[in-house]
Amino acid sequence: MLPIARGIYNGLASITRNSRGALHTASAFRCKAETAAATENEAEAVDGEEEPKSSGPDPKDRTQVIPVETSIRYLKSVAYKETYGDDFVWSQYRRNHKGMYAPRKTRKTCIRQGKISTGNPCPICRDEYLVLDYRNTELLEQFISPHNGEVLSYSKTGLCQKSHLRLRVAVEQARDSGLITYDVPFREYDYNEFYGQQKS
């Protein structure tokens, strides 16, 4: 009887251990991202981080700055595809809140003093390889409404206020640089002004 019970207990323990890094926390994303990315840079990073596994790098640590180029490569990688599939980065995210209705605004920030300070960080903060930058158009386009061309509200995407501001800034810069196209307002010409009175 006892061995069977122990076997069941072990099984349960392993299941919980495996699923501890729940889908929405950063550590799961990071592990997947790093194992699947085939480029040298990331391979190095994997080696560096996997060796001291016993002590373990803090999965909530966000002091390391990820360059945009890495992020752009990540968005094209298999790891990204595995984690998010064809969905948007934000579409699977759910906010935690008490009661029936979510507070009108999302939290001010997910990262305090270089660390994730919450159990349910927003879609941008939870995955450190998503970098908001005007060159990262593939990411920015996920946050633009196809109907009116505006940046989607945080009530829909669940971004924290700080990320949302950075997103809006990045989108504005990308538009200004011509990296993201938008529908330019129609310019009405007063032809008389340019041609004189010849043309009505």
């Binding site: 196809p146 800034v169 504005e172 938008y182 340019f194 041609y195």
Partner: protein, 393 residues
């Protein structure tokens, strides 16, 4: 507001970085082709306008494509046939309005016009004073803007200042007070062009710059030159920029690629119009009015064809079409079209044989292929007619 401030601060920061990083890249190099004379009289000429409009075509799907604008509502209404007819006419008018070409005028030179010199006012202040007449409803060109310099001179403001003041008091939607980075940095513009965002760049250009500015001429010329190399003319077809583009090519005698594209897509009447436009601009003594008149009789103008397309939706499916009509829809050409094609092919071949065309072999090949296809279609057309027992008219 805070967002704006944030953007500006970041922009300033990154601008510095940009400068440091890419000192070598010159900001927006200028185009090689320029209008050497005032192109305006030729451009505004009614015949030129008609040719350009006909070349632009009117594809309703493209003109009224879904735009990402603030208000994207659609309305559903019940209408009688008469109401629908008036609605159709209005739609065509609206489309024509959306296709109105941006003006092509010569570059305006900045002249210094001093009104008064008052040395007594010297050092009255440490900054210039700009006075703007903000009367409501004045056109921008007539708005008076004067500047009092610190040394006491009162003078009319330069074009740059005038534009800035106009934008300050009567802002144009979409225009930025600074030069957009897309136009300021060579590599960004180059990237846009490489990705074939021609319409976007040109749209932005019309909003940002006035047609008489040097930047407008430079940048639009660059876009057109790039387009001539990448040969993606279809991207601009049925937009307001197609006319200026065709005019630019005709002016600078580099129509051959556009011509090739038109022949390949079976827009023969457009090809004839383009050649005629070149003849007209360069005053080449070839008689083209007759051919144009003939073609015009056989070919409906773009708005008429668009209107008939709209009316086509209204026809009930059970309404029996004549057998002749059915044959025409199956082949895609009518008898008139075949006649028109013959006339235009003759005209185009004359052009290719003349010394004005530069890419003769390519064009000849295109014409030859088109001829073969046309012949097949004609045979099929006649065969079908015979089989159905329709009298040849």
């Amino acid at each position: 507001m805070s967002l704006l401030r944030y953007v500006r601060r970041l922009n300033a920061l990154q601008g510095h970085q940009h400068c440091r990083r890419e000192v070598s890249s010159a900001p927006a190099k200028s185009a090689t082709l320029k209008y050497d004379q005032d192109p305006q009289p030729l451009f505004t000429d009614s015949e030129t306008q008609r040719l350009l409009q006909s070349m632009t075509q009117l594809q309703l799907d493209k003109v009224f494509r879904k735009r990402t604008v603030k208000d994207n509502r659609s309305e559903t209404k019940f209408m009688t046939n008469e109401q629908l007819e008036t609605e159709f006419l209005q739609i065509i008018e609206k489309a024509k309005h959306l296709l109105k070409m941006p003006p092509i005028v010569k570059i305006k030179q900045d002249t210094e016009r001093i009104i008064a010199k008052d040395p007594a006012l010297k050092d009255f202040a440490t900054t210039k004073y700009v006075f703007t007449d903000i009367t409501f409803g004045l056109p921008h060109s007539e708005r008076k803007v004067v500047v009092r310099e610190t040394d006491g001179t009162l003078a009319y403001a330069s074009l740059d200042t005038t534009k800035r003041m106009n934008q300050l008091y009567f802002p144009l939607e979409g225009r930025k007070s600074y030069t957009p980075r897309m136009f300021a940095y060579e590599e960004l513009l180059h990237k846009c062009l490489e990705e074939h965002k021609y319409e976007f760049v040109l749209d932005r250009l019309t909003v940002q710059y006035e047609p008489y500015e040097t930047e407008f001429h430079n940048l639009s010329a660059r876009v057109f030159e790039h387009l001539n190399e990448s040969k993606q003319f279809d991207l601009l077809r049925s937009t307001r920029h197609f006319g200026p583009m065709a005019f630019f090519y005709a002016w600078h005698r580099c129509i051959d690629d556009l011509l090739y594209d038109m022949i390949r897509r079976d827009y023969l009447h457009n090809a004839v119009e383009l050649i005629a436009l070149t003849y007209k601009i360069h005053k080449i003594p070839v008689e083209y009015t007759e051919t144009l008149a003939k073609l015009e009789a056989l070919h409906p103008t773009p708005d008429v064809s668009a209107l008939s397309e709209l009316r086509g939706f209204l026809r009930r499916p059970e309404e029996k079409q004549g057998i002749e009509q059915e044959i025409q829809t199956a082949i895609g050409k009518t008898e008139q079209d075949f006649a028109a094609d013959d006339i235009s092919l003759k005209f185009i071949e004359e052009y290719i044989a003349s010394e004005h065309s530069l890419k003769k072999v390519q064009l000849e090949l295109a014409v030859q292929t088109l001829k073969e296809i046309n012949l097949e279609k004609l045979q099929l057309f006649q065969g079908l007619k015979k089989a159905h027992g329709v009298q040849a008219s």
